[in-house]
């Protein structure tokens, strides 16, 4: 609690009155909370959990397709790329202050860093990349600590832990070689202490924070480390090298092996995603927002386009929030911010109109370059991220309509940019209403 900013209100009791209530604790909601605090508002966050971060890379994508290929209703078009880049920069600063430095790849100059389709790029001076469990180089923008891919051509040794689910170093190595048998990529595998048959990535990440266990694992890795590889080489590990203490664990591996160490993205549950969730919690806590996890917003009262109150239900019972401005960051279909009823899609808390693209919901191909229509389903908003008819409600993140985060490589960027703008807009509304004196 010592990190709490002076003068921040604490909200107690059955009825709580923050100036800004953020509903949703994923990347967009937490960014909104940070932005609203930065603008001086008192903030409470209510969330069921950390959103879909455990399905995410822990890195922040910006854009992997040309800007002018985006549809008119795309959130980036609503905000403009200069706003998007300001928000990304602000996010990077606040995360660095919170001890979680994210490193940007490629120069940012208003859209000039756009690269080809996902998976194609990752060249010198271009966007940063992470390596996937298929050994693909996947472009991203703000890279989480220890996740940056080594440049193409550098010698790589892929190390694996036998028994770890959903990972095989040979498959990563084959992908990295990309059909070139002379590429300097090798792999090896160790038995973990006790030779477990089935190891869960999150459990292993936690175990590796234990110093004795880690020392034992590192010793086993050292025994099979190829002797010919020097300091210029990179050892790639599955992304299980620690959870909250990941940086120390990564450093310990690098120091003992005398090589650079980097991590490979695994299928969910994603340890890097959980690390980012934890870092966000720290940052928001440090900024002095009040966070209630495990509370689900179940009821909203709206009068004349103004949200009056939101009621949450959780282990502590029902709590009523009466705020001046509200940020909706409950996610999309995956995060349950959008739900289905029969064949139709709805936004369950406020009953906001949901835009479903006309025509076919999905392409015949599983991975079409231009993406799928059904992932563009969402709530349509104005340039200040307000849904039609609402004066004090701002919507951000995956709840929004008009983008395919996967094909466009923009999910993290949209969450951060719209979260930042929604939080700032909410705080601005409060300031304009004289909320500071409350």
């Amino acid at each position: 609690m010592t990190e709490r900013a002076a003068g921040t209100p604490r909200f107690r009791g059955r009825v709580r009155r923050p100036q800004v209530l953020v509903i949703g604790g994923g990347l967009a909601g937490m960014t909104a909370a940070l932005a609203a605090r930065r603008a001086g508002a008192s903030v409470a966050v209510v969330a069921e959990g950390a959103g879909v971060l455990e399905l995410a890379s822990g890195c922040i994508d910006r854009l992997a397709v040309p800007l002018d290929s985006l549809p008119r209703e795309h959130p980036y078009r609503l905000l403009g790329m200069s706003v998007v880049d300001e928000e990304l920069a602000a996010f990077q600063r606040v995360m660095e202050e919170a001890g979680w430095p994210l490193v940007p790849g490629g120069p940012v100059d208003g859209g000039a860093t756009d690269v080809g389709p996902a998976g194609a790029g990752c060249v010198d001076g271009g966007p940063a990349c992470v390596i996937t469990a298929l050994g693909a180089r996947r472009p991203t923008y703000l890279v989480a600590p220890g996740m940056a891919a080594p440049p193409p051509g550098d010698p790589i040794w892929v190390a694996g832990f036998r028994g770890l689910r959903d990972f095989h170093p040979a498959v990563v190595a084959a992908g990295l070689r990309g059909g070139d048998p002379s590429a300097p990529v090798t792999w090896g595998e160790i038995d973990l202490p006790g030779s477990p048959e089935d190891v869960h990535p999150v459990a292993l990440a936690r175990q590796l924070e234990d110093e004795d266990y880690r020392r034992e694992v590192i010793e086993r890795v050292r025994q099979i480390r190829p002797r010919e590889l020097g300091e210029g080489a990179t050892a790639l590990f599955p992304a299980v090298l620690g959870l909250t203490g990941a940086r120390a664990v990564q450093d310990a591996f690098a120091g003992a092996l005398g090589m650079r160490v980097s991590e490979i993205l695994l299928p969910p549950p994603s340890v890097p995603g959980l690390r980012l969730a934890e870092a966000l919690r720290r940052a928001v806590h440090r900024a002095g927002a009040d966070v209630a996890i495990g509370a689900r917003a179940v009821e909203a009262t709206v009068e004349d386009g103004r949200v009056r109150r939101v009621v949450t239900a959780g282990p502590g019972g029902r709590i009523t929030y009466e705020a001046d401005a509200y940020v909706l960051a409950t996610g999309g279909l995956l995060g349950n911010g959008l739900t289905t009823e029969g064949r139709s899609v709805r936004e369950p808390l406020f009953g906001l109109p949901v835009t479903v693209p006309e025509g076919e919901l999905a392409d015949a191909r599983f991975l079409p370059e231009e993406g799928h229509a059904f992932v563009r389903i969402g709530v349509t908003v104005d340039g200040r991220l307000r849904p039609p008819g609402f004066s004090n409600l701002f919507v951000c993140g995956r709840t929004l309509a008009g983008y395919d985060p996967y094909a466009e490589g923009c999910g993290g960027g949209v969450a951060v940019a719209t979260g930042g703008v929604a939080g700032a807009e909410a705080a601005r509304l409060v300031a304009g209403a004289g909320g500071e004196t409350r």
């Binding site: 040979a170 084959a174 048959e197 089935d198 064949r343 015949a364 370059e369 094909a407």
Partner: protein, 546 residues
């Protein structure tokens, strides 16, 4: 030298192969894809009581009534004897129901009226508008297991099976067919296979085979779309009691319920596309019987192509007989050495095989009688293997594994008993690493599709999103495939699964579809199917089994 070659690895071809083998004929079966990749797995899985045909086609109805009992007896491993219902809704013509009951009695189909109170207790999801209901001995039958059983039995008697070999020509000596020219779809290599007799049981593709000998065979490819609902919406097969039409059959099977079908003649038997209008129509019609069908979660939509025998003139393929014909091209067209079978349905596969082999036997001078109606296809499962499985994976899952591998249980149980063999790879269908490895080792170098058809890998709620990747890693770990093969293997598997998911996409399935899409694109950066490659090309790319 072979006495007979059977073209087609569906139910009819497999039934013919077993019948030939039981009569002592030396035979081989050739199939362009994996066994059962065509119509015999692309249908609703209904073992007809005959009720559906009673009014319009009494002969088919009688055949179904008899064969239904035989298949239950000889293939218990493939049949789920769930029973069936015919229900008349308020808006359906009561006089048709009267005629139907009489016609069923005439055809020897046991019919018993079901009290409506009892019906509502037993099938609570059925519409309020049900006015009459009758119980019939419908059942669900697993086309894959049925064929696998027939093939295993035939192989045990010395028959050969060559999958992923497409017939690209018939060997001719004057007006006599003397064999087939095959192309290995994996390698592109061609080979010739000779026999005294070629039996064309290629189903929807039979017309193409006949054309290679320049004889006419009018097979109409009739595409039917089906929906796969999550969970069992009914406990029995439910038919609508009115003139047969679209969207009037629900078949519960395993952990899902199928709703079928539509009937659209298509020029190309390979056309298994799923038009959105047909999906919507099925949901609308299905909801008349079972209101939940409008909103329940649809895992997939898929299509199969019925091989109807008849004239091309009519637009309504439901008017063409579901009966079958055996054509001895020597007698009909002066082409020796070729027999075709066309039309029919899975329920009567054994009868079709018997009639074909009767003709073949006469040509070959074989006098042994048909025994397929009496002899069970497979011996009962090995009790020791079952015990071992129960010990390894528990009673419920042991039963599921035994059902999936009626002919190779000891090998599968042995593989599950290896270190790591009990690890679950496909969580939805509870498929273990050992089951996959055991199956893969029998096949040599299978595609994920080959494994799916034999184990139900990827057929549950996640539709392969997670387990496809996991299974591919397992195959690398076991040295069954090379690490380099994983991306293209996954691309093919996911593309095939997507085809079905997309067909029924909407409602709750949107969420699952986004999860798979996100995993493939953002987490794994999976490769798309290479330009110019179709799902079929990848699916047919497995090496198959000899």
């Amino acid at each position: 030298m072979l006495q007979a070659i059977v073209i087609g690895g569906g139910a009819t071809g497999a039934g013919i192969l077993r019948d030939l083998a039981l009569r002592g004929v030396k035979a081989a079966l050739v199939e362009q894809g994996d066994l059962v990749h065509g119509t015999s797995s692309r249908y609703h899985g209904l073992l007809h009581s005959g009720g559906r045909y009673a009014v319009k086609d009494p002969e088919s109805a009688r055949e179904c009534a008899v064969e239904n009992e035989i298949v239950r007896r000889i293939a218990p491993f493939a049949v789920e004897p769930c029973g069936g219902l015919f229900v008349r809704l308020e808006q359906d013509d009561p006089s048709y129901a009267e005629r139907w009951v009489a016609a069923c009695r005439e055809a020897g189909i046991p019919v018993e009226e079901v009290d409506l109170d009892r019906l509502r207790r037993e099938e609570p999801l059925l519409a309020e508008s049900v006015r009459e209901a009758y119980a019939v001995p419908d059942a669900s039958v697993d086309g894959w297991r049925l064929v696998q059983g027939n093939v295993a039995a035939a192989e045990a008697l010395g028959a050969r099976v060559l999958t992923y070999r497409k017939v690209v020509g018939l060997l001719m000596d004057g007006s006599r067919v003397t064999g087939v020219r095959l192309r290995n779809v994996a390698t592109g290599e061609e080979e010739c296979l000779e026999a005294e007799l070629v039996i064309n049981a290629a189903g929807a593709w039979a017309g193409q085979i006949a054309a290679m000998a320049s004889v006419p065979l009018n097979v109409v490819a009739d595409r039917g779309v089906l929906l796969v609902y999550h969970g069992r919406l009914t406990s029995r097969v439910v038919n609508r009691l009115r003139k047969p039409g679209n969207g009037d059959i629900f078949v519960p099977t395993g952990s899902v319920t199928l709703l079928g079908t539509t009937a659209t003649p298509v020029p190309d038997p390979d056309d298994i596309s799923v038009p959105q209008e047909e999906v919507d129509e099925l949901m609308r019609l299905g909801a008349e019987m079972l209101p939940m069908a409008a909103t329940a979660r649809i895992l997939r939509a898929f299509a199969g192509v019925r091989p109807l025998f008849g004239s091309r003139s009519g637009g309504n393929t439901r008017e063409i007989s579901r009966g079958f014909v055996v054509i001895d091209h020597a007698a009909e067209h002066g082409v020796q050495g070729l027999i075709s079978v066309a039309g029919g349905k899975l329920t009567t596969y054994r009868l079709m095989a018997e009639k074909v082999v009767d003709v073949a036997a006469a040509h070959l001078g074989v006098t042994a009688p048909c025994r397929t109606a009496e002899e069970p296809i497979l011996p009962p499962p090995d009790p020791a293997a079952i015990q071992r499985l129960i010990h390894l994976v528990g009673r419920d899952r042991a039963q599921a594994v035994a059902d999936r591998h009626p002919a190779s249980l000891p090998e599968i149980a042995g593989a599950i008993d290896q270190p790591g063999g009990r690890q679950i790879v496909c969580e939805c269908e509870q498929v273990t690493a050992g089951e996959l490895i055991g199956t893969a080792r029998q096949l040599g170098s299978p595609s994920l599709g080959d494994l799916r058809r034999r184990t139900r890998l990827g057929m549950g709620t996640c539709q392969g999103g997670f387990c496809g990747y996991r299974a591919a890693l397992l195959l690398v770990r076991e040295g069954i495939i090379e690490a380099e093969q994983v991306p293209s293997m996954l691309a093919g598997f996911q593309a095939e699964r997507w085809r079905g998911v997309r067909g029924g996409l909407g409602g709750m399935e949107l969420r699952a579809a986004e999860l798979n899409y996100a995993l493939a694109r953002a987490q794994l950066a999976m490769e798309p199917l290479p330009a110019g490659k179709t799902v079929e090309m990848i699916e047919l790319g497995g090496a198959g089994n000899d």
